[in-house]
């Protein structure tokens, strides 16, 4: 049985797990472990980025047209918010390394507020998309907003469908599988990917918020689990990763394509 090593640094007490022999070994194990986890996260998002790239290359015109429906201003605001939250998170980790509990709590609170702000803006964006029938599915109607502006939104797709039928004539032929009145599949594909990617990202933001809130609570009662800076550093790595995902989502979804 190895004696439990106690390591003091910057006045922090760290508990060494029985499987480790030194605190350095334990610390680096946790950080490397976190990085391997982030690697899986990269690959997790990777498949979606690949799908986005492929469908964009297959349907460049449609994707370009569709991406103009995203709110560039709100997207920029959100990027700003996330970058700022990354900054505050980095400072939080710094306070943790220095063992300054108050600074840690304050910076984490700021980060949580930024995260909440991000989700708030995101929900406004999502709400607008729902309102404009841009959420993919049977109610998807790419031109809804345009026609609403022109005051002929009544009837929506139904009217459009009839119009189509009138043009095509009642041919009564054997049909392919009915796909509903959706004619703008490829523009819809953009929104499928938009919601899938930003949705998955938003879930990650939410998880990050929960983690930070837990750390704040534990730090507030000076729980031994967070006296050590490693848990905060791990949370920080995760949070910066979430930020990086957005750094790429923002231009690829909101900006690219003319």
């Amino acid at each position: 049985m190895s004696a439990e090593a106690v390591h003091a640094e910057h006045g922090l007490e760290q508990h060494v797990g029985v499987q480790y022999s030194t605190i350095e070994q334990q610390n680096e194990s946790y950080i490397v472990g976190m990085w391997t986890f982030l690697v899986t996260e990269i690959m997790f998002f990777g498949a979606l980025f690949l799908a986005l790239t492929i469908y964009r290359s297959l349907y460049p015109a449609e994707f370009s047209e569709a991406h103009h429906r995203l709110d560039k201003f709100l997207g920029t605001v959100n990027t700003f918010i996330l970058l700022s939250s990354s900054f505050s998170m980095a400072l939080a980790v710094r306070y943790a390394q220095l063992g300054q509990r108050k600074g840690l709590i304050a910076m984490l609170l700021v980060t949580v507020l930024f995260a909440a702000g991000f989700l708030g803006v995101k929900s406004i964006e999502y709400g607008t998309k729902f309102e404009h029938h841009l959420f993919p599915g049977p109610s998807f109607d790419f031109n809804y907003e345009e026609r609403e502006k022109q005051g002929i939104a009544e009837g929506g797709m139904a009217a459009r469908g009839e119009e189509q039928a009138a043009v095509a004539g009642p041919i009564g032929l054997e049909t392919n599988r009915t796909t509903g009145p959706v004619l703008e599949d490829r523009k819809q594909m953009f929104f499928v990917l938009y919601f899938a990617m930003t949705g998955l990202h938003a879930i990650h933001v939410l998880i990050g918020m929960v983690v930070m809130l837990v750390i704040i609570l534990l730090a507030a009662i000076d729980h031994p689990a967070v006296r050590d800076y490693i848990p905060i550093e791990m949370a920080g790595l995760y949070w910066h990763f979430v930020d990086i995902v957005w750094i790429f989502l923002f231009p690829l979804l909101y900006l690219i394509g003319h």
Binding site: A168, I171, G172, N176, R186
Partner: protein, 379 residues
């Protein structure tokens, strides 16, 4: 050794044989050495074990590089053969294959339809243009060593030139649902003379009772063109509401999303199903989407019609090239020997070509009314 019945089967089997020899030699080499050494150096055996070696870089490199070279040789051989697998020769005649759960629909350019059966003559190359109506299938003729996935939403091609008359399996090789193992059929390879006779008899009796005579693909496409009132915009006298179609096939066009592409079946399919209003402003009226309203066959028929339109504006479709003069089905000859296809149904007298024009069930509807009992009972 499975039967070789196409021009591709011979080269294929040669490569297969070479690889098999390689495999057998290597397997026996490795296993022989392993067993020999294991017995020779078994515990208790009095053999010389002095100076054992635990590594030897030259040996390692030898047995890395030799297999690598052999492997690259096999790769090269297979890669040289590969481009010919799916690239049809220029003179190949086209056959259209539609896969659907759980049946193969086949249509020859001359209009003959078959279900789960395919009649071809020896000595002529055929190009298969294939698309699926639902899930992914795979058109597989083992005797020809030909296989290609049949994918929804996209044309795939394969080709073959049969060499040996006979009856060979068609399988669906990609799992496609409940009756996957029954999505089979036969390809009947006939001598050119037998094939000629078979064509003259209009092939199997696959038509619905009361339907019209067999239209060529282009004729059926013309019917559809009329029926869908495509002429409103695309006829020469349509005041330029839409682009003229004469001679457009094979030229360079623009896809609905603005990308340049050659005008071919894929191109026409794209315009029919996914037209874009944005890019058709040149014309007064935009192209509607026919998504969900045309079968895959009908799309191919329209494409065949457009292909048949030569510059100069001749509206009546010419007869399909390189097929013998069509006759109405009358059963004047016995079924072809190898065929096994009994013209059981629809012995009724045939009406003329235009008989059903304007009715609600033109050529396309026949795809569903598969009166053909041959395909499903052949097993």
């Amino acid at each position: 050794m499975p039967e070789e019945a196409s021009t591709y089967a011979g080269p294929y089997d040669l490569l297969f044989l070479a690889l098999t020899i390689l495999t057998v030699v290597f397997t026996f080499l490795v296993l022989g050495f392993l067993i020999f050494l294991a017995i020779r150096y078994r515990r208790g055996a009095r053999v010389d074990r002095s100076r054992p070696i635990s590594h030897d870089i030259r040996l390692e490199l030898t047995w890395s590089i030799i297999p690598l070279l052999l492997g690259l040789g096999v790769f090269a051989w297979a890669a040289v053969l590969f481009p010919s697998v799916y690239r049809p020769p220029a003179n190949a005649e086209e056959i259209f294959v539609i896969g659907k759960q759980w049946m193969w629909h086949i249509q020859h350019p001359n209009g003959i339809r078959e279900n789960n059966e395919l009649h071809v003559p020896t000595g002529r190359p055929f190009k298969l243009t294939m698309i699926s109506q639902d899930v992914i299938h795979s058109f597989f003729i083992p005797a020809f060593r030909v296989k290609r996935d049949v994918i929804p939403g996209r044309y795939t091609t394969a080709w073959f030139q049969a060499t040996k008359p006979g009856k060979y399996h068609i399988f669906c090789a990609e799992y496609c649902g409940t009756n996957h193992s029954e999505m089979t059929g036969y390809v009947y390879v006939l001598t050119p003379e037998d094939y000629q006779r078979w064509v003259e008899n209009n092939g199997p009796s696959g038509e619905a009772p009361g339907s019209t005579a067999v239209l060529t693909m282009a004729e059926a496409g013309h019917q559809l063109y009329t029926q869908l009132a495509c002429g409103t915009c695309h006829d020469p006298d349509a005041l330029n509401r839409g682009p003229l179609l004469e001679g457009i096939y094979g030229t360079q066009g623009k896809l609905p999303n603005g990308q340049p592409a050659p005008v071919d079946n894929t191109y026409i399919r794209e315009w029919l199903l996914n037209p874009s209003e944005r890019l058709s402003q040149k014309y007064q009226q935009s192209m509607p989407s026919y998504k969900g309203q045309l079968t895959e066959f009908q799309i191919l028929q329209l494409a065949a019609y457009i292909q048949s339109l030569r510059p100069g504006g001749a509206q009546p479709p010419p007869t399909a090239p390189s097929t013998p003069q069509r006759r109405r089905r009358g059963g004047n000859a016995a079924p072809i020997a190898a065929g096994g296809s009994q013209p059981a149904a629809a012995q009724s007298p045939q009406t003329t070509l235009t008989g059903a024009a304007g009715a609600t069930t033109p050529a396309g509807a026949q795809a569903t009314n598969t009166g053909n009992q041959n395909g499903s009972n052949n097993r």
